[in-house]
């Protein structure tokens, strides 16, 4: 094919022409095959030259353009836009960097710089000779987002996406929304309770026509990719009819003979097989825990809304993006860890918060009044021997906040904080200060010398080598020992496994880049929010939920996604499926297909990112990257090596 190539060599004021003889470069390349016109210009990027280029391309019907100027990082897109304005495909433009990589780099050697510039321009011409017009790969994108998890982060993201105009499927595995925040009363930072915050969010969620909330719902299958995920959701019934009589329901709960530990209260209380977590919870409809139900029929006798005929349903949903807001689990101490499970008055911070919730007038646990409380920090976090090396971030502030609250609420409370260095970062520092002023005692140990909890003479004693008082051994008799437990990833990672979302060193979901892309995952179209990505307080979870909502929205809003066309291609005649490319690809972009009676590899164009990692592994050399084929590479090398 006979090419008509235009070459422009830039003086860049003098930045190039002071060291590179640009006229010599022009003369050296004007005779190259396919070069139709060659010019030098004072500033290639200047408006006047851009106009001239457009004119040249149009009048001479150029089909390839090279500009030799500064780094492509500065002006590749500028000149691509210029050729597009002239009606030429932008991939028919090639940039040669003769400033950063020639005139400036070799300002000490003008002859050398000029010679190098000639080679660089010739190699760009060689490349543009083979350049083909390319169109971006277009993928349809559904304006719908599936949000997994209806805790505060998931609900907040749902509201945001719904208001922005997307359809939202909010999928909650539990039967009630609100996640962990439902379990807290007084929240840090505001005067609100967890219940109040959830009420505000829930009302907005259910009021918005764009949001469909599913509870008792679990994603069990997933196919498709960004723009068009197809998920299958299993919905476990509540075994209750929607229009419920409240009194009858209350009776049904009363008559249920089953008693099992109530996970909502971290097992410090029991609940029935028909239950709600607390009165007025959302959705305001109890549920029958069918696993633990004995089907005795007692509830049916007092309540006509019970319906054991409800069946598990499966729904297929389609969404352009998936947002994961699956939350965390509180760390569960091991049997005997600081006396947990062995000494009767050792509880975790989440349990303690529920104890405070159920205490009125007097703070009591198991019928005994509590005055002296020992808090042991960093349980399950910053482990010296265990797996969890990370700090759980929220616990210091949360614990001190709780300690202040109860000190103000109940008489005669003495708080002893056995810590490893208090981390009330930011504005939470003022609580630490306040609690010290209220007379709370802080005792600090080294990470490898944690305090010891012992039972002696009917008393629970906490001992510590306090580094704040020259490592003296101190002991405190405690009515209650509170283990300040950290956050761990959800035990059940079925959703992570299903969606192939990678986990970090701390086993939480991993973002692509903490700073550049903090809510996106390597799986295109899947974003992560809240504590599913790592420990956070509520405000931080909200920020990440809103940030994730924005990224998901950007993917689904336009209805169409444009993906770079510079992807890998398979030479069908050479390929004899060996699977090596599939192994090498970090994105699972390859699939095995039947073609002309043999098995070959096929590139999924919406998944391939054009990194080229597959290229060198193919034993048949059947793989090429568009724009970087063997012939292009070899001709570039030829023009770099051949004598000027």
């Amino acid at each position: 094919m006979n090419r008509k190539i235009g070459v422009y060599i830039c003086h860049c004021g003098g930045n190039i022409s002071d060291y590179v003889d640009v006229e010599k470069v022009r003369r050296a390349v004007e005779g190259e095959a396919g070069v139709f016109l060659s010019k030098t210009t004072m500033f290639a990027c200047a408006d006047s030259n851009q106009k001239e280029m457009v004119e040249d391309i149009k009048t001479n019907q150029l089909d390839g353009v090279v500009v030799a100027s500064c780094s492509p990082k500065l002006h590749l897109l500028t000149f691509r836009a210029v050729v597009e304005r002239a009606g030429l495909n932008k991939y028919n433009y090639v940039h040669a960097n003769i400033r950063e990589q020639s005139s400036w780099a070799h300002s000490d050697n003008k002859t050398g710089a000029t010679e190098k510039a000639i080679h660089l321009v010739k190699s760009a011409i060689a490349k543009v000779r083979y350049a083909e017009a390319l169109e971006p790969i277009k993928v349809k994108s559904l304006n719908a987002v599936a949000i997994i998890g209806a805790g505060v982060a998931g609900m907040r993201a749902a509201i945001e996406l719904a208001e922005a105009g997307s359809e939202v499927f909010l999928i909650e595995r539990e039967f009630f929304v609100g996640g962990r925040v439902a379990q807290w009363d007084d929240l840090c930072l505001t005067q609100e309770t967890g219940k109040e915050l959830i009420t505000r969010l829930y009302n907005k969620v259910v009021e918005h026509p764009n949001v469909t909330l599913f509870t008792g719902a679990e994603v069990v299958e997933n196919s498709g990719s960004v723009g068009n995920f197809s998920i299958r959701v299993k919905i476990t019934p509540r075994y209750l009819k929607q229009e419920c009589n409240k009194d009858e329901l209350q009776k049904a709960i009363e008559v249920c003979p089953v008693k099992i530990p109530d996970a909502f209260n971290f097992n410090i209380t029991n609940r029935k097989a028909i239950y709600h977590n607390y009165p007025g919870e959302y959705p305001q409809l109890p549920v029958i825990d069918i696993e633990n139900c004995t089907r005795c029929g007692a509830c049916e006798k007092v309540c006509k809304n019970i319906d054991f005929n409800q069946k598990t349903e499966y729904l297929n949903l389609k969404a352009g993006s998936i947002l994961l807001a699956t939350g965390f689990d509180p760390y569960e101490p091991k049997q005997g860890e600081f006396g947990y499970g062995e000494i009767d008055n050792v509880v975790t911070l989440p349990q303690f918060k529920r104890i405070v919730h159920y205490s009125n007038g007097q703070l009591t646990y198991k019928g005994k009044e509590i005055k002296n409380i020992a808090y042991i920090y960093c349980v399950g976090s910053r482990q010296v021997d265990g797996e969890n090396k990370y700090c759980s971030r929220y616990c210091c502030s949360s614990c001190i906040h709780t300690a202040i609250k109860i000190k103000k609420k109940y008489k005669g409370i003495h708080n002893y904080h056995f810590n490893r260095g208090i981390r009330t970062y930011g504005k939470a520092e003022v609580w630490y200060d306040e609690s010290s002023r209220l007379g709370d005692i802080y005792l600090q140990s080294f990470e490898d010398h944690p305090p010891i909890v012992e039972k002696a003479g009917g008393q629970t004693i906490v001992k510590i080598n306090d580094i704040l008082t020259s490592k003296k051994e101190l002991e405190v008799v405690a009515d209650l020992v509170v283990l300040v437990t950290g956050m761990v990833p959800r035990k059940d990672n079925s959703i992570g496994n299903l969606l192939k979302v990678p986990k970090g060193r701390d086993k939480f979901f991993n973002e692509i880049h903490m700073k550049l892309r903090p809510v996106e995952t390597v799986i295109d179209g899947i974003t992560i929010a809240g504590t599913s990505q790592g420990p956070k307080n509520i405000m931080e979870s909200m920020n990440s939920a809103l940030a994730a909502a924005t990224k998901s929205f950007a993917l689904v809003a336009s209805g169409e996604l444009s993906l770079e066309p510079t992807i890998a291609t398979v030479d069908e005649s050479k390929c004899a499926w060996c699977g090596k490319c599939e192994e090498a690809c970090p994105y699972s972009a390859f699939e095995k297909i039947q073609s002309n009676g043999k098995l070959i590899a096929k590139v999924n164009s919406s998944v391939c990112k054009g990194c080229g990692m597959c290229l060198p592994v193919c034993p048949e050399n059947a793989l090429n990257l568009i724009g970087l084929s063997d012939k292009e590479m070899e001709s570039m090398i030829d023009s770099l090596i051949h004598k000027v």
């Binding site: 003098g14 930072l189 981390r423 520092e429 008082t469 809510v519 909200m542 990440s544 940030a547």
Partner: protein, 434 residues
């Protein structure tokens, strides 16, 4: 008859072109909204673009910032004004704000400047370089720093002798001393405040001797020494150019200190000090680094592991309160501190001391708002009116806040907060159209 002033219209005014403002602007622009980004410095990129490497991953700050910055600079939906700030923002009604932007003259026509630095070479004047935090000089005609965006020269008119040498060598004649201050009226539908933070000025703690003892420097000065665009050829004492081998860090300088009016923890100093300590151990393998701390706040993702890594590398952590710093004749410094573990007052000698300065709110944001009350929190950061459910909301409807304007936070949190502000802005803007 007066000519009617043509008012420029945008969807969103973003005040501050650091990483939080940049993230908000990009998110909004990518969805088709027209954004006006106003930055008071000569370059966008905020404080982050000037950092060395960032914790806890140690990837280089410039590498992360520059692609974002060029994406912002190139975006067809973003208009950038550098060397500019809003004088007044007036709410005219729902989804309608009018702002008056003060554009200070740069004396350089940005689009024509190629960044060739010939003017810089020609300029005879040398004054203190604020982008290197006073460690070296710069010319009166200068490019702020090598990775600045726009990478265009500026004239420091206060220090210019009007000799005209810069103009004479400029190949594109982009220098223009006829430029004057402009006040540009704009009309926008909403505002994002991403005005960032200030660093604590340690001159306010005279007992540390900053300013007097030349080998006492701030953490941002050390940051510059460690950055790829650093001022010296190596890590050196500013007092005499000696390569230090025993460096101390004083944490909580200007944080958790009611006596200077800042009771809160600055959230980032522990980690950036630990990072600098690690980088110093790499750059000066023979050097000892001691960090004097009260508590180490290594709370974020990967932070505690990063702290442990520094301990393994041999960084010394001393739990102690530094009282006073004095200088010896050879420029070395004596730190008097209370060793918390023994309860005793001790002294130690170091040849360089770095003050890990804290995060202080920016002034003057409240005053921009003409007839509405922008509320501040007790520490003078922008108050988040619904901090738990809508952390980007402020006391004025339609005005959102991002990044460290609300309080101290690290880079990942600032970026998330920038994302949150853009999300809230989008739904606010949509409420008007529907």
């Amino acid at each position: 008859m007066e000519e009617p002033v043509k008012i420029l219209e945008f969807d969103v005014l973003v005040v501050g072109g650091g990483i939080a403002g940049g993230e908000s602007a990009l998110n909004l622009a990518n969805l088709g909204y027209k954004v006006l980004l106003v930055e008071k410095e000569l370059s966008i990129g905020g404080k982050m673009i000037l950092l060395s490497k960032v914790f806890p991953t140690l990837d280089c700050s410039a590498c992360i910032t520059t692609p974002k910055v060029s994406e912002i600079a190139r975006h067809s939906n973003i208009t950038i004004l550098t060397g500019a700030e809003p004088l007044k923002i007036t709410k005219k009604g729902p989804h309608h704000f009018e702002a008056l932007i003060l554009q200070k003259p740069r004396y350089v026509n940005i689009p024509d400047c190629t960044g060739c630095q010939l003017c810089e070479e020609a300029c005879p004047v040398s004054v203190t370089d604020e982008y290197q935090y006073g460690l070296v000089g710069r010319k009166a005609a200068y490019i702020p720093f090598s990775i600045a965006s726009p990478r265009a020269a500026a004239i420091d008119i206060e220090n210019c002798t009007l000799c005209g040498a810069c103009e004479r060598v400029c190949p594109t004649q982009c220098i223009d001393f006829t430029q004057t201050e402009e006040q540009i009226p704009v009309s926008v539908k909403s505002v994002v405040l991403a005005t960032g933070f200030n660093l604590f000025d340690p001159l306010k703690i005279p007992r540390y001797g900053y300013g007097k003892f030349k080998n006492v420097l701030t953490s941002i000065q050390m940051e510059r020494q460690l950055a790829p665009t650093r001022p010296f050829n190596a890590i050196l004492r500013p007092g005499d150019g000696k390569m230090p081998d025993n460096i101390a860090y004083v944490l909580c300088t200007g944080s958790r200190d009611k006596s200077i009016g800042n009771p809160i923890c600055s959230q980032i100093c522990c980690m950036y000090s630990i990072k600098q300590a690690q980088l110093l151990m790499g750059a000066l393998p023979m050097a000892d680094v001691t960090i004097y701390y009260l508590h180490i706040r290594a709370f974020g993702k990967g932070f505690n592991e990063f702290y442990a890594q520094a301990q393994d590398m041999g960084v010394e952590f001393t739990k102690g309160k530094v009282g006073k710093i004095t200088e010896k004749e050879n420029g070395n410094l004596i730190l008097r501190y209370e060793d918390i573990e023994t309860g005793k007052v001790k002294e130690s000698e170091h040849d360089m001391v770095v003050l890990s300065v804290g995060v202080i709110p920016n002034e003057g944001i409240q005053e921009m708002f003409n007839n509405d009350d922008l509320q501040l929190d007790p520490y003078h950061f922008v108050d988040q009116s619904d901090i738990l459910a809508s952390p980007a909301k402020t006391s004025i409807e339609g005005v959102f806040v991002a990044g460290t304007a609300t309080g101290p936070m690290d880079i990942p949190d600032s970026i998330l907060s920038g994302g949150a502000a853009s999300a809230e802005t989008i739904s606010y803007l949509r409420r008007v159209t529907s």
